[in-house]
């Protein structure tokens, strides 16, 4: 309740009408533009000029000026007055007679020659609000007659009236409205719609007209408002359908009118105002002795028995604002949206948006965030209006000022929450979710910086996980404003990201380094050191890398060197020159080693310098470990293994240089052997291995390694060399019989027995000392004999196979080249000219068959021919 939709403004006061004459009452009124006509019970018509006066405060009042009054001479009350302004006539009903009066002079219009100007026996009449005839100089009226159950349709002209149609009704009608062909009638016990053109009728609903005064009020094209049982105001259209829900009046309702979107009704004591949009009672005005309520061209006028009033609607915006002020959001929106048709489109949109925004803020203030969000969205709220509620969120650089008049009553969030921190928190969470949703939409066009900065601040303050996402993706956070904020909440990692986003990588790294070093506290990211290394690693700025690599290498060389080793091999990266890096890493031994390993082992750069450098580093490490005491055996072993492996696998390093470096180190014999091997000085290598190291497995491994990419002859040569070395050192040759010699001998035997296949057994047998037992060499000899036997047999098989293949080929050839040779008893031999008696013949070249003995004879005769070329049998 208590919307102030209308104000009751006096128009004609009592003293202007009837002065102190107590018995004179107002019976009817008519208003046409500024002209107000009042009919009284003493048969007078009063004519007033009504002027709207707007005071300086915007308050509307009326000043009325009496122009004329006229006695109609019938001594009866003036029951009805209707203006026909195009005809300059008033249609008057008085004493059951309808007649015309001049609007200006109020003189009764005399009858014209063509027809009468009076209709008698009339109880009520109405004007067609929506006439079918297009003639502007006539008015169509429907007339109810007192005696017959009929309705008559008349055309009213300037000086005559003409009956057009007469319709019978089932009961006596007592009230009527007319729209087009449709008559809406109140009969004694019901309402009905009657089409006077087709005669079709439609019952609406029952109503006891004797009990309660019926109301038939035309409100709109083909739509009527009717008083229904139970004090209802029912809507019905010409088809007899109700398209709006009814409104609830009091039982004693006298009159009703529509002033969109309100239905105004008058009863004995009150004016009630219902909204047609939600059927709710919106306003009640006290009004005593009222008996007339009518709307004239949208102006609602009322009259008591003594005075006339105008019901002035308050401006729509004012009504809506009143509703909003009392936080009746839904009603305000319904009213706004209901007014859509009455307001120009562009103006409506502005109004609607503003109301939506205001509604949103009201709901926001009530923490109804879901609804608020919806209204903000629909109302296309400038997000900054909302952000500005939160102190300090908008960047200092923002040009935003709140709209005027303000959309809400809140100074800021603290004002809204009244110190309730839980409320503040809820509001902040809402803003986080709201900004998160809108920041990627068009709604934030033009204020992206404000929105993103605000969001960043909220995230930082609320320790929100999305802070990093915001900074890692495209954003418009204002740096100057965000820095102090992030610092305040110790979000240094995030601040670094922001610096990075603003291409201030140097500042970012500096900041992170302070965090990593523990100068600043921010636990956002564990493993920040690795992150910084990664960052430098992928940084395209060489300056930045050079500047901070030192720090990283000192902190942890193993990870720090990733800056150089894990750089993505993209074209856009101006790659660091390896030589520069090596020079730079000079003082970081370990890192340098890792870097060289990266270059040599991973990137497989084939450069002598790098390989030598790496070998030297390996060597130096081994040497340094050796020089320590006590030596860490495990470390040493690992270092040596690396060195050895590298020495074996790489072919690029400068062997002599390295050899020189370890010349006088007696502990690195294995490495020296490898180097000698690289120089193909296998005898030296084997000498070291066998005599100095007495490491026979390594010696064998050396042979295999040194010959790994060579042919078997080379390998054989190496093994023989080794065998030679073993045998040379054995006591068979030297006279000193010590256990070492025996070991060499055993090594030789093992070598032969294990790698027998490599050796040439014949040469071995020649080399072996005479005194060795056969038993000792049995595995070797077994294998040798077996191998030789195997070879022999294999070759025999090969020979046989080759022979048969040859035969086969010969056969094939013959088959291709020779025709069959026919031998018969009738054919003669070319040599002896005798006939053949047996199938065995010899074929001479050219396929000529001859006797075998003839050929033998001939061969014997000619000494030059030793062989028969060919022989075969053909039948």
């Amino acid at each position: 309740m208590s919307v102030k939709a209308f104000e009751l403004v006096p128009a004609v006061e009592r003293d202007l009408l009837m002065g102190d004459k107590a018995r004179i009452n107002i019976e009817c009124i008519e208003c046409c533009g500024k002209h107000l006509y009042v009919g009284t019970n003493d048969c007078f018509i009063h004519h007033f000029l009504l002027d709207e006066v707007t005071s300086s405060k915007g308050k509307l009042s009326y000043s009325s000026q009496k122009l004329l009054h006229k006695y109609l001479g019938l001594k009866k009350p003036v029951a009805e007055l209707r203006a026909a302004s195009a005809l300059e006539r008033l249609i008057v009903l008085c004493d059951g007679i309808v007649f015309l009066v001049d609007m200006v002079t109020l003189e009764t219009v005399p009858s014209a020659a063509g027809g009468g100007v009076k209709i008698r026996g009339v109880t009520a009449f109405c004007i067609n609000e929506n006439p079918v005839s297009g003639d502007p100089f006539c008015v169509e009226i429907a007339v109810l007659c007192s005696k017959r159950r009929t309705v008559q349709i008349y055309m009213v002209y300037e000086d005559r009236v003409q009956l057009v149609k007469e319709m019978n009704t089932p009961q006596q009608p007592c009230a009527v409205s007319l729209d087009g062909y449709f008559l809406c009638l109140a009969l004694a016990t019901q309402y009905m719609i009657l089409n006077y053109n087709t005669g079709a009728s439609q019952d609406l609903f029952p109503y006891n007209s004797e009990e309660r005064r019926p109301i038939v009020k035309w409100i709109n094209r083909e739509e009527f408002l009717l008083a229904a049982p139970g004090g209802l105001g029912m809507f019905a259209n010409a088809e007899g359908i109700s398209q709006r829900a009814p409104v609830k009046w009091s039982e004693s309702v006298i009159a009703a009118a529509v002033c969109f979107p309100y239905v105004v009704a008058l009863d004995e004591n009150f004016i009630t105002i219902h909204s047609m949009l939600d059927q709710q009672l919106k306003q009640t005005l006290s009004f005593r002795d009222g008996h007339i309520l009518q709307d004239f061209e949208g102006k609602v006028m009322l009259a008591s028995t003594k005075a006339v009033y105008v019901l002035v609607p308050l401006p729509l915006e004012r009504q809506i604002q009143d509703l909003l002020a009392s936080r009746r959001v839904e009603e305000a929106l319904i009213l706004t949206e209901g007014a859509q048709r009455n307001i120009p489109k562009d103006k409506f949109q502005i109004l609607h948006r503003r109301i939506l925004q205001q509604a949103g803020f009201i709901q926001f203030g009530q923490l109804q965030f879901l609804e608020a969000k919806e209204h903000f969205r629909k109302g296309e709220l400038d997000v900054r209006e909302l952000i500005s509620l939160y102190p300090l969120l908008l960047p200092a650089s923002s040009s935003f000022t709140r709209c005027h008049p303000p959309l809400h009553e809140f100074a800021d969030l603290n004002h809204l929450a009244q110190g309730d921190q839980e409320k503040v928190l809820q509001c902040k969470r809402f803003l986080i979710s709201y900004l998160g949703e809108v920041r990627s939409t068009e709604m934030v066009n033009g204020c992206r910086e404000d929105v993103d900065t605000a969001l960043l601040k909220l995230y930082a303050e609320q320790d929100h996980e999305s802070l990093l996402d915001l900074l890692a993706t495209e954003n418009a956070c204002v740096l100057a404003d965000s820095v102090p904020w992030l610092e305040k909440y110790h979000k240094y990692f995030a601040l670094g990201l922001l610096y990075h986003y603003h291409c201030q990588d140097s500042a970012a790294v500096k900041l992170w380094i302070r965090v990593a070093d523990g100068d600043l506290q921010d636990s956002t990211r564990s493993g920040l050191f690795e992150y910084i290394v990664d960052f430098l690693c992928s940084s395209s700025s060489q300056d930045l890398v050079w500047k901070h690599a030192d720090w990283a290498l000192q902190k942890d060389p193993t990870i720090g060197v990733h800056i150089f080793t894990k750089r993505p091999a993209g074209k856009d990266h101006t790659d660091l020159n390896p030589d520069d890096v090596i020079t730079y890493l000079g003082k970081h031994n370990h890192a340098l080693l890792l870097y060289l390993e990266h270059l040599v082992l991973e990137r497989r750069i084939q450069k002598e310098k790098l390989h030598t450098h790496l070998a030297v580093l390996y060597l130096e490490r081994v040497l340094s470990l050796l020089s320590k005491s006590p030596t860490d055996a495990e470390q040493l072993n690992r270092a040596r293994e690396r060195l050895q492996a590298f020495l074996r696998e790489s072919n690029l390093y400068r062997v002599q240089f390295l050899l020189g470096k370890m010349e006088n180190c007696e502990q690195l014999l294995l490495e020296r052997a490898t180097l000698h091997g690289k120089l193909e000085e296998h005898d030296k290598a084997l000498h070291i291995l066998v005599h100095k190291l007495r490491d026979f497995p390594s010696a064998e491994a050396f042979c295999i390694w040194a010959s790994s990419s060579r042919d078997s002859a080379y390998r054989q040569r190496l093994f023989h060399l080794l065998l030679g070395v073993y045998l040379d050192g054995s006591p068979g040759k030297g006279q000193t019989a010590n256990d070492g010699g025996g070991k060499l001998e055993m090594a030789a035997v093992d070598l032969l027995n294990q790698h027998g296949e490599v050796f040439d057994p014949v040469r071995v047998l020649r080399m072996l000392p005479e005194g060795w037992s056969l038993q000792l060499l049995r595995p070797f000899l077994n294998r040798a004999v077996r191998a030789s036997m195997h070879a022999c047999r294999t070759s025999q098989i090969a020979l046989g196979l080759a022979h048969s293949e040859n035969l086969q080929l010969l056969h094939d050839r013959l088959k291709e080249r020779k025709k069959p040779i026919l031998v018969s008893e009738k054919k003669g031999c070319h040599l002896c000219h005798n006939t053949f008696s047996e199938p065995a013949v010899v074929c001479l070249p050219g396929g000529v068959p001859v006797h075998t003995h003839c050929v033998a004879q001939r061969v014997r005769d000619s000494p030059t021919k030793r062989h028969l070329t060919n022989s075969s049998n053909h039948t």
Binding site: F205, Q243, V258, R341
Partner: protein
Amino acid sequence: MPDLSKMKKPDVKVVLLGDMNVGKTSLLHRYMERKFKDTISTVGGAFFLKQWGPYNISIWDTAGREQFHGLGSMYCRGAAAVILTYDVTNWQSLAELEERFLSLTDTANHDCIYALVGNKADLTDPRAQLPPEAAGLPEDQTEEERTEPRVPSACPTPPASPTSPSGALLHKQVAGEDAAALYGRILRYKGLDEKGSLPAEKMCFETSAKTGYNVDALFETLFDLVLPSILRKRHENQESPTVDLEDFRGVGTKRARSTCC
């Protein structure tokens, strides 16, 4: 004069009829606002617009009180569907449908669809005490459900309306067969062929506005069934005011087809 017509023109009209206190307003509230709230006796009538796909369906809630009885036939004028509502715990409410309300539907469309709805099922049927998701009964099982013997359980339920004095289940005064029989009589009253019309098992519902049981099924079934009516109305508005018999037959067969599934 401003144009007073509503912004959205309804395409079709559905009307709720029934004696006072059977729960028409509550049914509509449950469907439109998804909640059950205390309502006061409806004055005159009220209506809601429901967006159903591309169509606007106006649903009229009428006043059950005798006082407003005369308005009923006006509300029914041009209706495409009428929901005749009774209270399963009140035999009289079913009888009133036949005695008072059936004649009001004379003004409805000639192809109007009638649904018989027994509301307040939660008072007699433990199954209806669960929200519809939990009960999970599609409406084609309602027949079966009806034939099951009802064992009044002692399971206490909070009073759903002033008519339930205790928490225990009330005696069910209107059985499903009674409603189905009335549905048959309605068809006869309308002069409709029972075979060509929608079958009783499809058009008789038992609902609970309080728990939401079967409420969506009721409205959605009806909306789907009135779609041909909407299309025909649109067609008429576009083409000509004459009724196309061919088209009408098409609608009829479509409806007949929909009954067999």
